[in-house]
């Protein structure tokens, strides 16, 4: 069971990643519709602690992250994000311990289901986050730990 304090610190972490990624409402306004370079360049969680404000993201059972428990090779790790929350605008995939946490952003329309899969690179074992951003500015997340192991001869 998560304690309330754990939950808060997790929310803080996600908020930091999101803020660093420019996806919290306060920052998102400043972004144009084009490629969000700042989001993908964001390195550390601390980068945006200041920006953590109004709406802290919260863990939600209505968001799902899929992926293996163990990846034999960090170069290719299958992950997916989906949600049943209505009014979802975007789905994000983030790898906490990668040099830049944000990996992919999917803009969801009514014409597709809020359910996407891709494959990411992971430098080491890490929590991987799926975050759903809703039209009314909420950020909901699910996370999963994926262990990256060393396969083969290691030579």
């Amino acid at each position: 069971m998560h304690t309330r304090r754990d939950m808060l610190s997790q929310s803080a972490k996600v908020a930091t990643m999101l803020a660093a990624a420019g996806f919290l409402p306060s920052l998102a306004q400043a972004q144009s519709d084009g490629y969000n370079k700042a989001a993908f360049d964001a390195k550390t969680i601390n980068d945006a602690v200041k920006a953590m404000g109004a709406q802290a993201p919260s863990e939600s059972k209505d968001v799902t992250i899929t992926g293996p428990d163990i990846a034999e090779n960090g170069a290719v790790v299958p992950v997916g994000a989906s949600t049943t929350v209505p009014g979802v605008k975007r789905l994000l995939l983030l790898v906490e311990k990668n040099p830049s946490a944000l990996t992919a952003v999917f803009d969801v329309t009514d014409a597709i289901e809020a359910n996407v899969s891709t494959r990411v690179k992971m430098g080491q074992s890490s929590d991987v986050y799926a975050v759903a951003l809703t039209n009314d500015g909420k950020a909901l997340f699910a996370k999963k730990e994926i262990k990256v192991t060393l396969g083969g001869c290691g030579g």
């Binding site: 490629y35 170069a75 299958p78 830049s100 690179k121 992971m122």
Partner: protein
């Protein structure tokens, strides 16, 4: 020029699952070659999907999407015979667009 994508769109009920494989290096910009020189980043930045010409999804990717990327999504209301078009643009401005028919 980039090699073609492989797109599979499989109808089931009132929707279609689209699976895409793209041929791309997805170089992170953090690796070094044997001489110790940084290999410049080279990766797909934007992906768009259309259903019978109508945009249904846009994605922005960073360099941590795996080499030769795989993408799966589900298009509502897509029927057998419909067209699914995928396009991508990378950080060097290289582009690729391919089309598949829902089966």
């Amino acid at each position: 020029m980039a090699d073609p994508m492989r797109i599979r769109a499989q109808a089931s009920g009132d929707k279609a699952t689209v699976r895409v494989l793209m041929s791309h290096e997805m170089e992170t910009g953090q690796r070094k070659d044997s001489a110790g020189k940084v290999i410049p980043a080279w990766f797909i930045q934007e992906v768009t999907a259309q259903h019978n010409g109508k945009p249904v999804m846009t994605a922005q990717w960073g360099p941590a999407v795996a080499k030769n990327p795989y993408l799966q999504f589900i298009v509502k209301g897509a029927k057998v015979g419909d067209k699914i078009t995928l396009s991508w643009v990378d950080n060097k401005g290289d582009k690729r667009s391919d089309e598949a028919t829902v089966a």
